[in-house]
Subunit: 205 residues, 2 copies
Amino acid sequence: MNFSSKILEEAVNQVSQLPGIGKRTALRLVLHLMRQPEQNTDLLSDALLKMRHDLQFCKKCHNVSDTDLCEICASNSRDETIVCVVEDIRDVMAIENTSQYRGLYHVLGGKISPMDGVGPQDLKVGSLVRRVKEDGVKEIIFALSPTIEGDTTNFYIFKQLDGLQINTSTIARGIAVGDELEFADEVTLGRSILHRVPYENSLKN
Amino acid sequence: MNFSSKILEEAVNQVSQLPGIGKRTALRLVLHLMRQPEQNTDLLSDALLKMRHDLQFCKKCHNVSDTDLCEICASNSRDETIVCVVEDIRDVMAIENTSQYRGLYHVLGGKISPMDGVGPQDLKVGSLVRRVKEDGVKEIIFALSPTIEGDTTNFYIFKQLDGLQINTSTIARGIAVGDELEFADEVTLGRSILHRVPYENSLKN
């Protein structure tokens, strides 16, 4: 693209660094900002800078937080003996939206993936083991994505917990509510039969 | 969405103000910035602020420019007697990319659209008429989009130029190079027959 202004070009280049945003989309976004009041760009810029520099992480579960302990860890009404292990904060938000879980979380910050250069040392595994040893955690729920990387990470953590008095579980894999059986993949359908639940239990929700 | 941090929520809200970006995409972009070095967010923020506050417009053609006169208007090698009238700066970039046009431009900043509350007074029509009167412009090429709004704008400008010694033309509408005839709409196909060009001319390019 031929820009008639270096300032415009730099803005478009910076915006197009974001994932999934190409040069054309970046130009559209920048021109949108240009047509809006200057205040809008100031607010956007402020919010991004504040997010990047001032955002803190909960000392206990590594969830994002404006305080030392996040709202969930600081709450009195949560069950501190159960910890759900997730990949990132989006998973915390997704599970919180279900209103079905009353325990705490542990945000790993990724999953073991040699292809992407992510090893166990890049994840918050050590602090999880410490929580199990020191905080009286009785059950750990693995809620990572059902991929090779997710399974590897689950297994690595499971090995690290070896010898500790702890129950471990993974979230149930099965046919999604509302889905047609005929369109489900074989692995999922197979698991949903292997891990079938008593009919009375399925009525509870 | 339940955010565990007001700072994160504000950043996501601001990013999701951009056109075509919803809350989920905004969260993905913000989390991406969080995983990148702090410097990346600083550069993005700087570029946006600079764009919004320091960007200038060419005094002659209203194209974006870092100087009083844009590169195109300031160039000696362009034909100052031809002016191509376009809607916004993206159209200038598109025409410049063809390398087929050696005249100047005039960026209207939109088109007459009562539905969107855009009237002739919101467009740079006055300065176009002034250019015709004072700068020795001999031909005006209308290159607005072929919509009702575009046609209305063309006609409005045409009326404003009434009585002045000036040639006006519009860019050719026809079948796009590489397109199949059978898939062309009737209006375009009809125009392409009405405005057919001598075969020798079509060989030139």
